[in-house]
Amino acid sequence: MLHIKCPHCGMRSQNEFSYGGDATVKRPELNKEVSDQDWNNFVYNRKSLRGKHLELWQHLSGCRQWIKVERDTATHEIFRTFKANEDNS
C-alpha cells in the first residue's frame, strides 16, 4: 500500500487516490501552429523512466484536488508531494 501525503489533507492511503500519469507533460499552447510531432509527444509519447518520476494523482475520495507526487518507479518510495500549481523544483 502506498501512503501519499496529500498537501491539503495529510497522509492518506493509496485507495483514496486515482493516478493521472506523467506530470511533466505540457499541453502545446493554443492559438499557435502545433506540429503533428508536438501533438504526438503530448498525447502519446512518454519517457516512463526507471527512478524518480513526477506524476499527477487525484485525491478522488478525499478533497478531489489534483496533486503532484515525486515517486521512485523502481522502489515505490515517495519523496515529496506538491499542490498542482506549486513549484516542484
Binding site: M1, N15, R46, S48, R50, T73, A74
Partner: protein
C-alpha cells in the same frame, strides 16, 4: 542436439538421468554478429529461432540481462487465444494459433498446449450484442467463436454464480473453443534449446549499456560483457523498452506498468476452461497442478518494481469472488508481478525505426505470452527482410502519428477509462 523422445527417456533412465546434455550452452559473446536480439524472453527467443529456421540467419546473439525464463515469459497466466475483432489483431493471433498447435512437435519439447477454450462472460444485453458482433467478426476471419446463452454457460461452468439477485448476473458468454493454455516455462526453454542448437548464442547475465549509432545506422551494441559489432539489432525487452529507448534518444508511445497475478492452493479439478469476468477485469484458469491461476488489472501507476501492491490484488479477487463465490474458500499460494510495456492504444508495435538496422518489438500490454510464436515469426521476417510482413503491418509505430490506432479495446495505459 539430443532428441527428446520416449527412447531417450528410457535410455537415460538407466544412468539415473545424469547424462542428459545441457539444453543450451553458455557462450562468451563474440566480437561480431549478423543480428543481435536484445531480450531473452519468449519473444526474443522465438525471434532468434525463426531467424535461424525461416531465414537461415544463424550468426545471432540473444543478450539477456537476467536469465532465460526469469521475466514475463515466466510470470504470465499462460492464456492463449485469438478472440479479436479487428482484422490486424485477429489474423496475427490466428496465425499464432497455428504455430501453437504445432509447437511441441516443431520444438521437440512438450509445451503442454491445452486448447481447452476460453469464455468471456457477458453481464447485460448490450454486452451480449457486443460479443455477437465480435464473434461474427472472428468467424469471418476463420476463427472459431460460439455465442453461449445463460443456460449453455451454466452447463460448462456450473460453479459460477447463477443465483438470483447478484450484482452482475451472467447473461451468457462468447467462447473460443480452440483457445487455451500452455506451460510458459517450456515455451521459453523449447525455443532456447532449438535456437541454441541452430547456432544462436544465448548470452545471459549481460546488460546492454549503450548503442553505437553512426549517421543513422546501427554499428554495434555495448554490453557489460564487452562491445559487439552488429548491423541489425532487434529490441524485444517488454517492460524495459523505455529504458533502452532512452539510450537511443527515442520517446515511444509506451509506458511501463505493473501487472500482478496469483495462484491459489492446488485443489481437485473444478474448472476446465479459461473464464474471464465481463463486468471488470479478471481471468481464471486451473493449472495441471490444480492451482487456480488468476489475474486482472494493472496496479495503475508507472512502475518497474516486479512486485505488486495489495489494493489491486484485493480489487481483482473481489471480482473473482463475485463471479465464482467458491474462490473465497481458497488460500492464496503465491502472488507475483511483472512489468508490462503498455502501449497507448493497447496494441503492440513490431516495426522498423528511423535508425537503420534497429527494429522494435514492444507494447504487448496484457497479451504478450499468447503472441510469442507469431511475434517471433513476424519480427524475424521484419529483421531478415528489412521490411514488415503483412501480418504485422498494422502494428506499425507510425499509427500514432497518423491516427490509425488499433483500438481493439482502446484501453492502453489508462485502465480507469473502462
Amino acid at each position: 542436439m539430443q532428441k527428446y523422445s520416449i527412447f531417450s527417456l528410457v535410455k537415460n533412465a538407466f544412468s539415473n538421468h545424469k547424462n542428459w546434455d545441457l539444453a543450451w550452452k553458455d557462450p562468451t559473446p563474440k566480437k561480431e554478429y549478423d543480428v543481435v536480439i536484445i531480450g531473452g524472453g519468449g519473444h526474443g527467443l522465438a525471434t532468434a529461432y525463426y531467424l535461424a529456421k525461416e531465414h537461415n540467419i544463424t550468426n545471432v546473439a540473444i543478450i539477456e540481462k537476467g536469465w532465460i525464463g526469469g521475466g514475463n515469459v515466466g510470470r504470465n497466466t499462460t492464456i492463449i487465444r485469438s478472440n479479436y475483432m479487428h482484422d490486424d489483431n485477429a489474423l496475427f493471433s490466428e496465425f499464432g494459433m497455428d504455430l501453437w498447435r504445432r509447437m511441441s512437435q516443431d520444438l521437440n519439447y512438450n509445451v503442454m498446449f491445452s486448447p481447452r477454450g476460453i469464455i468471456n462472460l457477458a453481464h447485460s444485453d448490450a454486452q451480449m450484442n457486443v460479443y455477437a458482433r465480435r464473434g461474427n467478426s472472428m468467424r469471418l476471419n476463420g476463427i472459431d467463436a460460439e455465442l453461449l446463452n445463460r443456460e449453455q454457460v451454466r452447463e460448462i461452468i456450473p460453479m459460477a454464480d447463477f443465483s438470483e439477485n447478484v450484482r452482475f448476473p451472467i447473461f451468457g458468454g462468447l467462447m473460443q473453443p480452440s483457445a487455451g493454455t500452455a506451460r510458459h516455462d517450456a515455451v521459453a526453454w523449447g525455443y532456447a534449446r532449438q535456437a541454441d542448437s541452430m547456432g544462436v548464442d544465448i548470452i545471459q547475465n549481460c546488460e546492454v549499456t549503450g548503442f553505437d549509432i553512426s549517421s543513422g545506422k546501427v554499428e554495434g551494441v555495448r554490453t557489460s560483457r564487452g562491445n559487439i559489432k552488429v548491423k541489425k539489432i532487434g529490441l524485444c525487452v517488454a517492460g524495459s523498452t523505455n529504458i533502452l529507448a532512452d539510450k537511443l534518444n527515442m520517446t515511444l508511445p509506451v509506458e511501463t506498468h505493473l501487472l500482478q497475478a496469483c495462484v491459489s492452493e492446488p485443489v481437485k479439478p473444478v474448472l476446465d476452461r479459461v473464464v474471464t469476468f465481463g463486468a471488470g477485469h479478471f481471468y481464471i484458469s486451473q493449472s495441471d497442478k490444480g492451482e487456480m491461476v488468476m489475474g486482472g488489472d494493472l496496479d495503475g501507476y508507472n512502475s518497474y518494481a516486479q512486485r505488486g501492491n495489495l489494493p489491486t490484488l484485493q480489487h481483482v479477487l473481489t471480482e473473482g469472488i463475485a463471479m465464482m463465490p467458491f474462490l473465497s474458500k481458497l488460500k492464496m499460494l503465491r502472488t507475483w508481478g511483472g512489468i508490462m510495456d503498455m502501449s497507448m492504444d493497447g496494441s503492440p508495435i513490431i516495426d522498423k525505426t528511423h535508425i537503420e538496422g534497429l527494429y522494435l518489438n514492444c507494447g504487448w500490454c496484457y497479451g504478450g505470452f499468447k503472441a510469442t510464436p507469431a511475434s517471433g515469426w513476424t519480427f524475424a521476417h521484419t529483421i531478415a527482410q528489412d521490411r514488415v510482413h503483412e501480418l504485422n503491418a498494422g502494428y506499425n509505430l507510425n499509427r500514432f502519428n497518423t491516427g490509425h490506432l488499433l483500438d481493439e479495446k482502446g484501453l492502453g495505459t489508462k485502465t480507469w477509462i473502462s
